[in-house]
């Protein structure tokens, strides 16, 4: 009887202890998990600390895109593949080197490589950074801040804001830029001095007479300065309140004819000697206003080639056989290049969709090159930096030969 009672007591005690032991095991497991998590975190931090050079930092960023275009006057094709790696290197907190390449395919399957910019940036103080090298032109907003494919809301650049348009592309020289508070408001500035642009001219026959006409202002930053005079300019931006930025830009300098073509830019290139120079002036204004999911932008740029002399001598060996014109030109037809755009973009709330409308126009001194461009688009944002664009683009030239052209454009763009 006593044995039986003892058994019952032992069983009862075991039953009482087991849950406590199980609870203790759970507590141990929880603690072990927490210690393991902490250990992993410490190891991660130790690894990060060990691999990091505290003075130098290197980072590769960039963007890329693939495009498809189908116009009513051509055959639909995947017409562009490009990648633009950007390398950043920083030393402590006062020096940064940054460079962007652009690699893209050509129509015949080749590859084009371009140096978009390469500069050493010194942060002199909280309001001033000195930028030395080749940099994107600070005239206006589109070229310096909005042209990357993952940032540009539409597939194409606005009329006049690409190569050969009215907006300057890049410059080689020195630039001071930065920002400063104005009470509760903000302002920013950029001022540069550089080698300046050059001019491309065409020799053409007009009503029996041969004349030299400035066809294009070449504003890709270059490392020589044929006229020996520096150009300078800059932009001042003002942000009176959150969401609104207003900017004004200007540039001034001299420009020399360095390239000449017979009959047009697609004609044979002529070997020339040039000693003249023309006045180069550019002005611009831009704005951006953001309110909730709506963003409005606009920009105007005017580039003017004014008074001066051509001083262009043609090498006779290089002239077309039927050329009967002079071998020297003292003067050239000059003019203005103007471009503007207005753009509205609206992100549809709670969806990854964004609607874009843009209208833009380019005016040049040359009949047949002026056009307006209207774009309606729908963007799908897989992520803030991964975007699929669907655009319907309408181009309307001032020439009946080029006429109107409507194109469906698709693009997948990403930033990294």
């Amino acid at each position: 009887m006593k044995k039986a009672k003892l058994k019952v007591h032992l069983m009862a005690l075991t039953a009482a202890i087991l849950p406590v032991a199980a609870y203790a095991d759970n507590e141990d497991d929880n603690l072990r998990e927490q210690v393991d998590a902490l250990q992993k975190q410490v190891e991660r931090l130790e690894n990060a600390a060990a691999t990091r050079n505290t003075d130098s930092s290197f980072h590769m960023a960039g963007y890329g895109s693939v495009e498809y275009a189908d116009s009513d006057s051509g055959v639909g094709a995947f017409n562009k593949v490009m990648v633009a790696p950007i390398i950043h290197y920083t030393y402590q907190d006062w020096l940064m080197f940054e460079t962007e390449f652009e690699l893209s395919n050509t129509a015949d399957g080749g590859t084009e490589l371009a140096l978009e910019y390469a500069s050493v940036d010194l942060f002199l103080n909280d309001s001033v950074a000195l930028v030395a090298g080749k940099f994107l032109s600070p005239i206006g907003q589109f070229r310096q801040n909005l042209h990357p494919s993952w940032i540009n809301k539409a597939v194409s650049a606005p009329a006049g804001f690409g190569h050969g348009g009215a907006a300057p592309l890049s410059e080689t020289g020195l630039q001071l830029r930065g920002g400063f508070p104005v009470g509760e408001m903000r302002a920013n500035y950029a001022f540069y001095i550089g080698n300046g642009p050059t001019l491309a001219a065409v020799v053409e026959q007009h009503e029996g007479d041969y004349e030299l006409a400035i066809e294009e202002v070449e504003t890709e930053g270059r490392t020589n300065d044929p006229d020996g005079k520096k150009s300078f300019g800059g932009r001042f931006g003002f942000l009176p309140f959150s969401g609104l930025e207003i900017g004004i830009s200007a540039a001034k300098g001299k420009a020399t004819v360095t390239d000449a073509f017979a009959g047009g830019h697609d004609g044979p290139e002529l070997d020339i000697e040039s000693s003249g120079e023309f006045d180069y002036d550019a002005i611009g204004a831009d704005f951006r206003y953001g309110w909730k999911n709506l963003e409005l932008r606009g920009e105007y740029i005017k580039t003017e080639i004014g008074e001066g002399s051509a001083g262009v001598a043609l090498h006779s060996d290089d002239l077309p056989e039927d050329y009967l014109g002079p071998s020297e030109f003292d003067d050239a037809e000059v003019g203005e290049w103007k471009a503007w755009y207005l753009q509205a973009a609206y992100k549809i709330p709670t969806t990854p969709l964004e609607v874009v409308i843009r209208t833009s126009e380019l005016q040049t001194p040359h009949f047949g090159e002026n056009y307006s461009q209207r774009t309606v688009g729908l963007n799908y944002l897989f992520a803030p930096h991964v975007i699929a664009k669907f655009n319907y683009e309408m181009k309307d030239y001032d020439s009946s030969i080029a006429g109107e052209q409507d194109t469906v454009k698709l693009q997948l763009a990403y930033g990294f």
Partner: protein, 200 residues
């Protein structure tokens, strides 16, 4: 003395360059002010959206953000202080809350020396807005009946103290809204203010 037009031109350019360099040299370099993640949140939204969509702070490591913010300082014409504040916010948001080891939160705290309204206006308003509807994309709407105030106090306090990212939001709220000086009692006070002001 006759000065040619081109020489005047060069002198003008040289004068402006010299002026800027002089200003650069006489201004103290790299003012070492405190970096403010709370101000950085607002500056991040104000400035990044000037050009492009706002990216998720967790896309880049803290080290890469340092370089990227330097790049953006040049591009956007930011002041050094603005850039440092934005970096502080991005790095604070970049640290994911460790749910497994987050500190348990008790709502039975001593009372705060600050009112909930004071805490909200100093540390929360930049992202959540004066109307509680969210000043930045992805910030939840406190006034939405199905919004975050549906959760109980313990969970909300834990999120506020340890940091939290709303589902689908491109940005995370850093621990204590990025203001490490806030005590648990301050956080409790501001939660009371948020419930009283925006709760439905």
């Amino acid at each position: 003395m006759n000065i040619s037009k081109s020489m005047k031109y060069d002198l003008f350019v040289a004068s402006i360059a010299a002026l800027f360099l002089a200003v650069s040299i006489i201004t103290p370099t790299h003012a070492k002010a405190n970096n403010d993640a709370v101000k950085g949140a607002q500056k991040w939204a104000d400035n990044c959206a000037r050009c492009h969509n706002m990216r998720d702070p967790k896309e880049l490591s803290d080290e890469y953000w340092e370089t990227t913010v330097n790049h953006m300082r040049i591009r956007a014409g930011l002041t050094g202080q603005d850039a440092r504040d934005i970096l502080a916010f991005l790095q604070a948001s970049n640290t994911p809350p460790e749910k497994e080891i987050s500190k348990p939160v008790s709502i039975n705290q001593i009372s705060s020396k600050l009112s909930g309204e004071e805490v909200y206006k100093s540390s929360c308003i930049a992202c959540h807005g004066s109307d509680g509807k969210g000043a930045l994309p992805g910030t939840p709407d406190f006034t939405n009946a199905k919004g975050p105030l549906n959760k109980n106090d313990e969970e909300l306090l834990s999120n506020m103290i340890n940091g939290f990212q709303s589902p689908g939001s491109p940005m995370a709220m850093p621990p204590r809204g990025g203001n490490a000086s806030l005590t648990d009692a301050d956080v409790k006070a501001v939660l009371g203010y948020i419930r009283a002001t925006f709760g439905k």
